[in-house]
């Protein structure tokens, strides 16, 4: 069993803790091992091997270990890199923010995060009655994260913030208009394309509750056979 493969990824205190956990785990049955593996804290640690150009993203269990529930063995893993100074590399957002907070990198904004492009989107949003497809289904989240943590890497950050906010306001207004006409016409269902989750969640609770109430009021219109159907 290649436990050492694990331990190279950790340092200091964590290494001691994990050694202990793994040692004890070896004595138990496979369920105990499984459980203990989940208890080991996750860390992102660059590989200690010089020959390794890539950084190992997360903990993995050593392969010779045969465990049941194989779909649970890999919690998550990935290889990222190679990280060479001066050359851009694509990484997940959480890693980019984390490294930026430690002042180890410079972020390059996505290509839609640009004043002209966003002005185009905003104008189109204002012109159309339907929702324009947004460059990213997470445009609000990305804007917020990047402008909060990496505004120095983004040209005209304030303008971008204003443009995104304007687009958001227009979309929310359209959403409310849609909701109102949906309720007025007492439709059974509606379909709205190109909405993002953030917009849906902001209005979702309100809208679903209102529609529930409306449904109950509508069932009042049916002549009732028994008193129960009128219960509110």
């Amino acid at each position: 069993m290649h436990w050492e493969h694990f331990l190279l990824l950790l340092k200091g205190e964590e290494q001691k803790v994990c050694e202990q956990e793994l040692w004890e785990a070896r004595e138990g049955n496979s369920d105990a091992i499984q459980f203990r593996l989940f208890k080991i804290p996750w860390k992102f640690i660059p590989s200690r091997h010089d020959r390794d150009q890539t950084s190992r993203g997360v903990l993995r269990h050593p392969s010779p270990l045969q465990l049941p529930y194989s779909h649970l063995q890999l919690i998550f893993q990935g290889d990222l890199g190679p990280f060479n100074p001066g050359l851009p590399v694509e990484v997940p957002v959480w890693l980019a923010i984390s490294l930026k907070q430690r002042q180890k990198c410079r972020l390059i904004p996505p290509e839609w995060m640009d004043v002209e492009k966003l002005e185009e989107i905003r104008d189109q949003e204002r012109k159309e009655d339907t929702f324009t497809p947004m460059p990213s289904p997470y445009y609000m989240e990305l804007t917020k994260l990047l402008l909060n943590y990496a505004s120095d890497n983004i040209p005209k950050a304030d303008e971008i913030r204003t443009l995104v906010k304007d687009t958001w306001d227009t979309r929310m207004a359209k959403l409310r208009l849609s909701a109102d006409s949906f309720v007025r016409q007492q439709e059974a269902h509606a379909k709205l394309d190109n909405l993002t989750l953030m917009e849906i969640n902001t209005i979702g609770t309100f809208l679903t509750q209102a529609l529930d109430h409306m449904y109950k009021l509508r069932t009042n219109l049916q002549p009732s056979g028994s008193a129960e159907s009128q219960d509110f």
């Binding site: 409310r176 309720v183 007492q186 902001t202 209005i203 609770t205 509750q209 109430h213 219109l221």
Partner: protein, 171 residues
């Protein structure tokens, strides 16, 4: 012979047939029986013809809180009593809700960190609950935008735990 209420207690007493009495809704509902005709129910004025036309003209101007803060709920219960005007009442209640919906949505989704008492003053209880839901959506969004959503805060339950004194613990 009929039930009557005096203060908080119910007592049996002799009643002249045809007299009018105010009784709670649950009692009226229990006594109601379309076959035996023990009681007949008179509609509160807000559900009658005159007010119904006011609602259909413009439902937004009505102070629903003053008019009985449970307009929708009570109105729905009223439909139990086999009144010939029931379809119109049901329709009016529904249409009132629909016309007032827009205003509730707009005001609840736009009033951030403000005193909302003037906005909810004329809403009935059901609409106030909806207003709260809209405010919650708005507040959660603002909280996320300010970055407070990912901050770990002490749970209010934990904050209320008193610290146990050493002497209280078992030795």
């Amino acid at each position: 012979m009929c039930w009557s209420t005096s203060g908080d207690s119910l007592c049996l007493s002799l009643f002249v047939q045809g007299s009018k009495l105010e009784i709670p809704m649950w009692l009226a509902k229990g006594l109601h029986d379309s076959k035996r005709r023990l009681i007949s129910v008179e509609l509160p004025k807000i559900y009658k013809e005159a007010w119904r036309t006011v609602f259909s003209a413009d439902a937004n101007v009505v102070d629903l809180h003053k008019m009985g803060p449970y307009y929708y709920g009570f109105g729905s219960q009223l439909l139990n009593f086999d009144n010939p005007e029931n379809p119109e009442i049901a329709q009016t209640i529904l249409q009132t809700f629909i016309s007032r919906f827009r205003r509730i949505m707009d005001s609840s989704q736009n009033a951030y960190n403000e005193d909302t008492s003037s906005l909810v003053a004329r809403l009935d209880e059901l609409e106030r609950a909806l207003f709260q839901a809209g405010q919650k959506g708005l507040n959660d969004f603002q909280c996320w935008e300010k970055g407070q959503a990912s901050q770990i805060t002490v749970s209010s339950l934990v904050q209320n735990y008193g610290k146990r004194k050493f002497t209280e613990m078992d030795g």
